[in-house]
Symmetry: C2
DNA sequence: CTACACAAGATCGTCAACAATCTGGCATAG
DNA sequence: CTATGCCAGATTGTTGACGATCTTGTGTAG
């Protein structure tokens, strides 16, 4: 087939977007990585206009930086942006867990427990990329329970930006979430205690930011550090 | 000049975006309005590719709906979307006023008081479009004081969607905010009382939603009502 | 040896023509 | 008279080529 319906290209577009998005979430695409149109076209066997649209979407979601006439690179959040991102995340994810506590069914809780189990195994199995990915997945799963697509979409965008931050300021990538804190949050959700769940979540996020801010003091994003000078 | 730097077109793109955006905020572009590419090109003396980019951005911000092969129309939020939008708005704007209370300077408060004065005049001057616009402006001004671009951007998007909702479910457009409630919020901000400011803001938004939900019962967006049947 | 200027290569941005799809009206059969 | 099928006009989606801009390597003057 040369080209089918318009729906096909939409699907292809989402596929390319998801591929790059996942690359960022898995920290295989690190901040500053160049994303030349030509190369993306060849890799995905896609037309330039499609690749271009995807890059614009990614730029709109603050995942890539589109520099005029200089191509697209994976975004590198500044320290100030980092501060704002975590502040926004606490607000939005706090609201999400409150809502999740209202709507969560027993089946939902069971799914989360299964998720926690997978997390635990990945952590002990020393499969660190998988662990990091599962840790983000947990947050997104909880968000889905809130039954609010808008806040959920916002959180997804923010979590992806957090992935960039971790890649920048936490080279070993060991800033993943603590398993126990996740477990406590699930317990609160089970009891329908939204207020406490939100409190735990916000504390959990403060811990995560502290982990990163500590490194931020010495690990500047500039290239001096990256060359060991 | 035929064509200048790339920055010029960027500027033109933002200009077209802003024009359509303002049209929605002022309720001159109502939900369902068709936005044909050809016509936009002529109106703004812009190329088709530029218009196309703008429409994609507007679609990403949920201001227009992009139907494949059928063109772009101004978005028409469903009742369920309306529920989610107000829920999200309470969460985000609540967080924003809390932050605004922390950062607001005396000059900021003075600016807000000026804003309140303009609101009051527009209300009495029976210049309703101006009033509705100023009411939204107040919320965005408060958001700016929070010093968090991410949450501010999210609120801007949500407020624009609220404008669509009002246009849909409040034909006369008289669902604007109460002046007094705005004034109370400013007072709390002046005292640095973020918790109370957030409480007032959330109550204010609940009132606004109630105003709309009441109409939602009889005024369905479907065409039966619009034909008087 | 250093610094500046220049030019070739590569990449991005734009435009215009072509192809695919949808809408609305008309003809025709029942 | 109603319903169905079809065709023309209009609109959108895509592609390919052209022009503009930036990067980088090289050469030359100081």
């Amino acid at each position: 087939m040369v080209e089918a319906a318009t729906g096909e290209t939409l699907e292809a577009e989402n596929r390319v977007y998801a591929r790059i998005f996942d690359g960022v979430m898995d920290r295989r695409l690190t901040p500053g990585t160049k994303l030349p149109e030509r190369e993306l076209c060849e890799l995905f066997s896609a037309s330039r206009s499609l690749v271009r649209r995807v890059l614009q979407r990614l730029a709109h979601d603050h995942i890539v930086d589109l520099r005029p006439n200089r191509g697209a690179i994976v975004a590198t959040p500044t320290p100030e942006e980092t501060r704002q991102i975590f502040e926004a995340r606490r607000a939005i994810e706090g609201a999400l867990v409150r809502l999740a506590a209202q709507h969560a069914t027993e089946a939902d809780i069971a799914d989360l427990r299964q998720q926690l189990h997978d997390e635990h195994e990945a952590m002990h199995g020393s499969d660190q990329p998988a662990w990091a990915r599962l840790a983000s997945t947990f947050h997104l799963r909880v968000a889905r329970l809130a039954r609010n697509d808008i806040l959920e979409t916002y959180l997804k965008e923010i979590v992806s930006r957090c992935s960039l931050i971790v890649a920048l300021y936490e080279p070993r990538g060991n800033a993943a979430c603590e398993h126990d804190e996740h477990a406590s949050i699930v317990s609160c959700l089970e009891e329908g205690n939204g207020a406490e769940a939100a409190r735990l979540m916000e504390a959990h996020l403060v811990e995560l930011e502290k982990h990163i801010c500590l490194r931020q003091l010495d690990a500047r994003p500039s290239l001096k550090e990256r060359l060991g000078l």
